[in-house]
């Protein structure tokens, strides 16, 4: 069924954090063969999945889509198919930014709390059941209890993923950073003193990881506001994530 295929594509776009525009016919004044209210298509830039029922309409949607995406706002447009006026609802598919917290310790717990307040999706990973559970993370969207490397094999990291590496020690920090350094994540931050972080970065550099990639890592993590407690540090991390999300730097 066309609608199921459309919803599956839509879900894929959301999971893969692809930028897309969904278009659905909501009204037709008159009759046009193949064109009916409820017809949907998904525009992802290179490809259009599905069809509104007329090539002419699909092309018009492709013409409007980039602007819908740029403005981040849905619009209602009246388009013409032959002499028939067709009202189409176009909406940007913008995945919600997701914070991936690697490490469920004191800082991880506060990052989860602050991240949820700010409206982000939050996923928490820790390899210790005592640190990856619902009691500690009441509002997390997802809690994964597994080794970091195994968990990171299964998690989709995209351009809307913000990664905070806050594990219990530099060994795990190293494993996590190694697993995500080549990912398209929007942000990678790693906790630790300047010295400890430097050690991890040097280790990866020695393994042949490109310097440009390592320079992307925010470490020491968070904006420098002098935070001391886990909550203060979490706020400085969120402030940095918001800055990257909103300003792109």
């Amino acid at each position: 069924m066309a609608k199921a295929a459309f919803l599956r594509q839509l879900l894929d776009a959301l999971e893969e954090q692809k930028q897309a525009v969904a278009a659905t016919i909501v009204k037709i004044n008159g009759d046009y063969p193949g064109v009916a209210a409820g017809n949907s298509l998904l525009w992802t830039g290179e490809v259009q999945h599905g069809s509104l029922g007329s090539k002419e309409l699909d092309e018009k949607v492709a013409g409007l889509a980039p602007e819908v995406l740029a403005k981040h706002r849905p619009v209602l447009e009246t388009l013409e198919a032959g002499n028939t006026a067709v009202t189409v609802f176009l909406e940007p598919v913008v995945p919600r930014p997701e914070i991936l917290i690697l490490g469920g310790g004191h800082v991880g717990q506060q990052v989860e709390a602050v991240g949820k307040i700010a409206g982000y999706r939050v996923t928490v990973v820790d390899d210790r059941p005592d640190f990856a559970n619902r009691a500690l993370f009441p509002t997390a969207d997802k809690i994964i209890c597994n080794s970091f490397t195994e968990a990171l094999k299964q998690i989709k990291i995209g351009p809307m993923t913000f990664i905070t590496i806050v594990t219990r020690g530099h060994r795990s920090d190293y494993e996590c950073l190694r697993a995500v350094i080549g990912s398209p994540a929007a942000y990678i931050g790693m906790i630790g003193s300047r010295r400890r972080a430097k050690g991890v970065l040097e280790l990866l550099e020695a393994e042949g990881v490109a310097t440009e990639l390592l320079q992307r890592v925010h470490s020491p993590i968070g904006l420098d506001i002098g935070g001391e407690t886990p909550a203060e540090i979490a706020i400085s991390i969120l402030a940095q994530i918001i800055q990257v999300y909103r300003r792109g730097k």
């Binding site: 199921a4 919803l7 599956r8 879900l11 409820g38 706002r73 849905p74 609802f89 919600r96 409206g119």
Partner: protein
């Protein structure tokens, strides 16, 4: 960035797809236009099952109840409609509804009652 602003609810789409694949009668409601002060903005979605249960919210209260009722009709009829909600009416004020806007909601059957 509050939930519902410019982001699509992945869980709701997942739920819609699941119902569709299981051929469970349901309808999808999408706010397509808002004028004045309305509870939710364009793009907000709600999934309504034939048993009346809902996933997501388009703002709660009377508006949501009305959309839910209309969606049940859409599931029976099997064809989509645009439902126009006027929350500027005196009745809305009498009911103590906080919003004074107008909202158009597109309601489409994903699976109609056979």
């Amino acid at each position: 960035m509050t939930k519902g602003e410019n982001d699509m609810d992945r869980e709701l789409i997942e739920a819609a797809l699941a119902l569709l694949e299981q051929k469970q009668p349901c309808a999808l409601a999408t706010v397509i236009q808002v004028k004045g002060s309305a509870p939710r903005e364009a793009g907000t979605k709600m999934l309504i099952s034939a048993d009346g249960s809902i996933t997501g919210t388009i703002g709660g209260g009377c508006a949501e109840a009305a959309v839910r009722q209309e969606a049940l009709e859409v599931i029976k009829r099997g064809c989509p409609t645009i439902y126009h909600l006027d929350m500027t009416a005196d009745t809305a004020a009498d009911e103590g509804m906080v919003c004074g806007g107008v909202m158009d909601v597109f309601i489409e059957p994903l699976v109609a009652l056979a």
